[in-house]
Amino acid sequence: MKLAISITGNSLQSAFDPRFGRAAAFCVVDSESGEWTVHENPALSASGGAGVQAAQFVAKLGAQAVVSGAYGPNAFDTLSPAGVAMYLAPTGESLTAAAVLELFRAGKLTQAQAATHEGHHGGHH
């Protein structure tokens, strides 16, 4: 399965970023072969609607699932109809994307069934 993991850096060894819309980048990794690529998150600098933009971005990258620490309502409402599954990785400890991948392979990640937090207000004036 093609998995997009939110990360802070530029490789599979980078730290997991628990934020979805404001993650620095996404590591797209094939959970079977382990092949990976890294894509900078275009929503990082968005003044508003980062969740929507990041969700569209990972959907376009062809990810079938994403792993992050939390999903806002806009991200959730965009990823669900796109058919992208949302997994939650633990946010309290420092993990690398590779470690997150291992947790996924071991079936230790739970799926988000709804937005995990309220929307961030912003982007309006």
């Binding site: 508003g48 609607g49 929507v52 933009q53 969700a55 959907a59 409402d77 796109a82 207000h121 309006h124």
Partner: protein, 281 residues
Amino acid sequence: MRVVVASGKGGTGKTTVATSLALVAGDATRFLDCDVEAPNAALFLQPQLDTRQEVGILLPVVDESLCTHCGRCAEVCEFHAIAVVGKRTLVFPELCHGCGSCTLNCPERAITERLDVMGVLESGFAGGVDFAHGIMNVGEPMAVPIIRQLKKAAPAQPFRVEIRDAPPGASCPVVESIRGADYALLVTEPTPFGLHDLKQVADVTRELGIPAGVIVNRDGIGDNAIEAYCAEAGLPILLRIPMERRFAEAIASGRTLVDAAPEYRPRFEALLQTITARVNA
């Protein structure tokens, strides 16, 4: 002539000044309460509000039967308020600014628009004053679209003087209230807060190229720093209203200053003449 009453700091007496000015300006006066988050002028002028209009922004509505999910709408939206994922086009109303760009850019003409109500405009007469205000709905974030439509609303009669009561602060709702005015009356109080915020709003009027004058309310409290600033910034002090408990009490109960203290009537008349002379100069 359009006169806007602004202040920077809240609670300095904008509405007190604006309503008294309207009362001395008499017939052929239009009054716009642009403080749509906290509209209070009606409490003092007591207009007969008999016209009501819902206002807001236009949100896109996608006709799924025409949409080819090409993604052009999402591409042109700076606010990520519309997204195309797979075979679905999603609209996020709380992110939308109502700019209409998606509608204009849709190659299939699959987008129409509906009004997203953010508040109401109400209008009616208070004596000879043609009064209108906007009331923003609770929970809405954006005041500017309501202010913009309030300013555009057709007057009920031709007017000689339009008086706008602006919201506090110095950001977009204030700017929108000040834009297009011929003169700005900046109401302040002689305290460090009053001075700090006066500077902010004076910067706005300067940037917009609108001449301004200052009214010092609650004169006597605090310090004299306002005078020094006004002299340096070339802002004339047009009126001083001393701190008197009887004024505070009368205004608290919903009376206007010129009603509670008739000796202020000629001073406000003179103020209006001064402004008119400055605008026509």
